[in-house]
């Protein structure tokens, strides 16, 4: 992935995050991000069209209730924010994916998107994602976040 594409994806993610959750992302080299001690949430979304591939989003657990609370207009401690943290995280990926594909491929391109798959990754999973050559890193409200756009060969 070129530097221009990396910057484009980073800009799209930060814009979606700000408009959807009123949170601010600071693009950061993936190597500079700490590995979340308590593990991380990961959502993956496959797409098919003129190019096929996947978009992966991973973030420290601690970010997700804050994200859900901001999206829903709740306090992070409220039960609904905790219950919906995974769903809100998946929706952030879903919206980001739609905008990233338009930014990369243009408005004429047509893609079919699969539903996001949610899971957990441990330290090794985080390291593997962080070290992928096409991973982009962010610090969001103090929490480490990784985003990876991968095109199939």
């Amino acid at each position: 992935m070129t530097v221009e594409t990396t910057e484009l994806i980073g800009g799209v993610f930060c814009d979606v995050l700000a408009r959807m959750a009123f949170m601010f992302g600071d693009p950061t080299g993936p190597d500079a991000l700490p590995t979340p001690a308590a593990g991380a949430l990961q959502a993956v979304m496959d797409f098919r069209g003129e190019r096929c591939g996947s978009l992966t989003l991973a973030a420290a657990d601690s970010l997700c209730p804050e994200l859900a609370a901001n999206v829903l207009g709740l306090e992070p401690q409220e039960a609904q924010a905790l219950e919906r943290s995974g769903d809100a995280f998946q929706e952030l990926l879903n919206v980001t994916c739609g905008h990233v594909l338009t930014a990369v491929a243009g408005e004429a391109a047509v893609f079919d998107l699969d539903a996001p798959r949610l899971g957990r990754i441990d330290g090794d999973g985080w390291t593997a994602l962080r070290d992928a050559p096409d991973a982009v890193g962010f610090v969001v409200e103090g929490h480490p976040v990784l985003l990876r756009l991968h095109f199939d060969a």
Partner: protein
């Protein structure tokens, strides 16, 4: 007059966000119904009076396009305005949706103000008080 609205999205978060945005935008809502996919939505449409539908495209079981096609086969349901609320950015797909009878398209993320404008443009609105 309050509107009976049906929200169709597999994400409970999105349904909650639309519901809250309608409230923040001052759109008078009567009964707010929710469905996680097109099939659930058709079941609700078959038994409830609905004035306006907000639907996603990508959903499991039955997606938004399939749901709209089913609505167009029904003399009564085809009169209910559908607004698509999705991440879709493809111009040709949005044109296809409009050709299929979709009244408006909102790209996520959206603001309460945009939601209100779309409601006004689609069904004319109803102001509280």
């Amino acid at each position: 007059m309050a509107l009976n609205i049906l929200l169709v999205d597999d994400s409970t978060t999105v349904r909650a966000v639309i519901a809250r945005s309608l409230e923040l935008a001052g759109v008078p809502v009567g009964n707010l119904h929710q469905a996680a996919n097109g099939r659930e939505a058709l079941a609700i449409l078959g038994r409830e009076w609905i004035d306006l539908v907000f639907a996603d495209i990508n959903m499991p079981v039955m997606n938004g396009v399939e749901m709209i096609e089913k609505m167009r086969e029904d003399g009564l349901l085809q009169t209910i305005p559908v607004v698509i609320c999705s991440t879709e950015g493809s111009v040709s797909r949005i044109e296809q949706l409009r050709a299929a009878g979709v009244r408006a398209y909102i790209r996520k993320p959206f603001t309460p103000e945009l939601l209100r404008q779309v409601v006004e443009d689609t069904v004319g609105v109803p102001h509280d008080g």
